[in-house]
């Protein structure tokens, strides 16, 4: 325990004195945090669905939980069930094999619901395109509210995208119901 505490103290709060290089990035993260908090005023529950991605997009979504972006600290949670979700964050071109699963996940998400298509594949089919095995972009399968291009989009872009989507629905997901 002692060692853990020592390491925690030694690490400090990594977003504190920023290396000059990351200053702009840090300010932006803080600004987005403030804006999200102002709009939401409460928690946002996100259900992530990999509908055929290469897993690169997922890695950057994971990065949102690291202490630099600290998305959970904002009250934004990734939840296990679509029934608990305000937002679906969908990655990948939709593979033909995931098409039905994605549609059912969408149907299981209570309204009002937001759908964000994350990554080039989700936005326009990306490098995999449309084929016998791929339905291409997410909006070919379910309605999409906002897109976040990039391959994969870095965590900051994902934060921006979530903010943009929430702004479209200023009452912030479930609060409306």
């Amino acid at each position: 325990m002692w060692q853990i505490l020592r390491q925690i103290v030694r690490t400090g709060i990594v977003t504190e004195p920023p290396p000059a290089l990351d200053a702009a990035l840090k300010d932006e993260v803080r600004r987005i945090h403030d804006e999200l908090l102002a709009i939401l005023g409460s928690a946002l529950a996100i259900r992530q669905v990999d509908a055929g991605s290469c897993n690169g997009c997922e890695l950057e979504i994971h990065a949102l939980n690291n202490p630099y972006y600290n998305i959970e600290g904002l009250g934004i949670h990734f939840v296990a069930s679509p029934r608990h979700a305000d937002m679906l964050l969908v990655t990948g071109p939709v593979s033909r094999h995931m098409e039905e699963a994605l549609r059912r996940t969408y149907d299981a998400t209570p309204q009002p619901r937001l759908v964000v298509a994350l990554g080039d594949c989700a936005c326009d089919g990306g490098i995999f395109g449309e084929s016998y095995a791929s339905c291409g972009r997410v909006s070919n399968v379910i309605p999409v509210d906002a897109v976040v291009p990039g391959c994969p989009p870095p965590p900051l872009e994902i934060l921006r995208g979530i903010l943009a989507a929430v702004k479209m629905n200023p009452r912030g997901g479930r609060q409306a119901g």
Binding site: Q7, C54, E58, L59, G129
Partner: protein, 512 residues
């Protein structure tokens, strides 16, 4: 084993690693497999080809001397070939996929259920059709998959997926349990099959490295390098030394990033959120420097045919060396904490064990294999640059449990940091890319790279007009997914996420 004993007409490809191609007949196909097995070699991959020369089935065998790519041409309308699964257990799923994608079937195979085909393609054997294959009509639902049932008193089934509870790739797991104890796990994958191997044939050879780098996002460097090596070996391109060193530098950076991610996630899965916070912070720092040094947080599109996309300044090399020193200190402290943490060790020790004997029998590959005593690592086993110059060391553990897979990641991390420092310090001068000249006739090439998860193989055939006729990409997860089914037997259901994470296998890389 001596290659001479195989009595094959072996043709050496011009790759930096020893790789041979040979055409065989049915007897030769069986004989090679038997001899490789006898010499404790491994089956790496099975795939099919259909092209101007008619259909053929291919197998890649890894031997201490190098890689043998055996190709068995099938005459006329013949669609059967001798089954390899009796000799190599890991052949089963690869052969089932070959039946789905290429319409070629293994004789007398025990398991003939479809694997990648979920009943949603209108065109059977999409890789063997000349035109663009069609998907099933809209509204068609996936076919039922015939899982094996476990009968008995108090046995019940738990079905999980394809949409999992966490942020991970989709797949389906069917557990048969008594109380909390797992009697059997059966996987059903293929959910992220997006027609990658077909897509390759639609791209220009000089561009398709981008697709290779997206077979599995966390192994982008390994796949892009394997693809580049395959194309360069087909075209006889010699890559500048400096470019090969920069590739190795990126490959090690990719290994470090993934090991950092896994070590954090494994701590978290055993209820030590502190571990996730610490390792994810280190990983973020690491990715940011990768972005500055190679233009992308994962180094996607940084390995290109002929070399690498950009050069590396002296100051960015110095920065990487400093980062390695610092990271080494931090990781050493964290390793000490992991080792001393009773709660963590209690969850890790003895969980999800694969004994070295079982690992050898089932062909457990790569990092997970090394944690079960399988001393295989291309960086160490073959004489190729720059790994030879740096004398890459192999790491192994004997325990075969989650604890061993954690320890192995720590060991490999330390070695990669050493390699990165050396690669930065001793980087040879010169250009970073050669021009790749496509030959005007049909050729083939192969690339073989030790990615962080294990060996990646890319086998490439170009047609006479310089188009990609077939590009097969193999992920070590093919070998390891079936072993995971064994590793969980007798464990409790709540330990599955931990065991699964300790293997950290790719879905996209095997679903293709």
């Amino acid at each position: 084993m001596r290659f001479a004993e195989l009595h094959l007409d072996l043709q050496r490809l011009s790759a930096p690693l020893p790789i041979w191609h040979a055409r065989v007949d049915r007897a030769g196909w069986i004989a090679v497999a038997a001899q490789v097995a006898q010499a404790r070699g491994r089956l790496l991959s099975v795939w099919g080809r259909s092209g101007s020369t008619g259909p053929s089935v291919c197998a890649a065998f890894a031997t201490p001397e190098g890689l043998v790519w055996a190709e068995l041409p099938l005459a006329g309308a013949e669609d059967r070939y001798p089954d390899l699964s009796d000799t190599f257990a890991c052949a089963t799923r690869m052969q089932r996929s070959l039946a789905d994608l290429g319409g070629l079937h293994a004789d007398h195979a025990n398991d003939r259920r479809p694997w990648l085909d979920h009943g949603l393609w209108a065109t059977a054997a999409p890789l063997a059709t000349a035109g663009a294959p069609a998907g099933a009509a809209a509204g068609t639902l996936p076919a039922d998959y015939p899982f094996v049932r476990v009968e008995g008193d108090g046995v019940h089934e738990i079905a999980v997926g394809p949409v999992h509870a966490g942020i991970i790739e989709p797949g389906h797991f069917r557990f048969s349990v008594v109380g909390e104890k797992v009697l059997r796990l059966e996987q059903h994958l293929g959910y992220v099959h997006k027609g990658i191997e077909r897509r390759f044939t639609e791209l220009a050879p000089l561009q398709a490295y981008r697709l290779a780098g997206r077979v599995s996002g966390d192994m982008t460097v390994a796949y892009a390098w394997a693809y580049a090596m395959a194309l360069e070996s087909a075209c006889g391109t010699s890559v500048p030394e400096r470019a090969e060193w920069l590739r190795a530098l990126m490959l090690e950076r990719e290994r470090v990033a993934n090991h950092l991610g896994d070590l954090g996630a494994l701590g978290n899965d055993a209820a030590l959120a502190f571990g996730l916070a610490q390792f994810s912070r280190l990983r973020e720092d690491w990715q940011r420097l990768s972005q500055r040094a190679f233009g992308h947080r994962f180094m996607m599109d940084a390995v290109v045919p002929g070399g690498v996309a950009g050069d590396l300044s002296l100051s960015l090399r110095d920065e990487q060396r400093r980062q390695c020193d610092e990271l080494e200190r931090e990781v050493r402290r964290l390793r000490h904490i992991y080792d001393e943490h009773a709660g963590l060790q209690d969850r890790f020790m003895g969980t999800g064990r694969v004994t070295p004997e079982l690992a050898a029998r089932l062909g457990l590959a790569g990092m997970a294999g090394r944690a079960s005593g399988q001393a295989v690592d291309l960086r160490h086993d073959h004489d190729w640059q720059p790994y030879r110059a740096l004398q890459a060391r192999i790491a192994t553990q004997q325990g075969g449990d989650v604890a061993a897979r954690v320890a192995l990641r720590f060991d490999e991390l330390a070695e990669s940091l050493r390699l990165i420092r050396e690669l930065c310090a001793r980087l040879p001068e010169g250009g970073v890319a050669a021009v790749v000249q496509l030959p005007g006739h049909a050729v083939q090439g192969a690339g073989w790279v030790e990615g962080w998860r294990g060996e990646v193989l890319v086998a490439l055939s170009l047609g006479a007009e310089g188009r990609i006729e077939r590009c097969h990409a193999h992920d070590p997860s093919w070998q390891n997914w079936p072993v995971l089914e064994h590793a969980v037997i007798g464990n409790i259901v709540p330990d599955f996420p931990l065991i699964n994470k300790s293997f950290n296998l790719s879905y996209s890389g095997v679903d293709l």
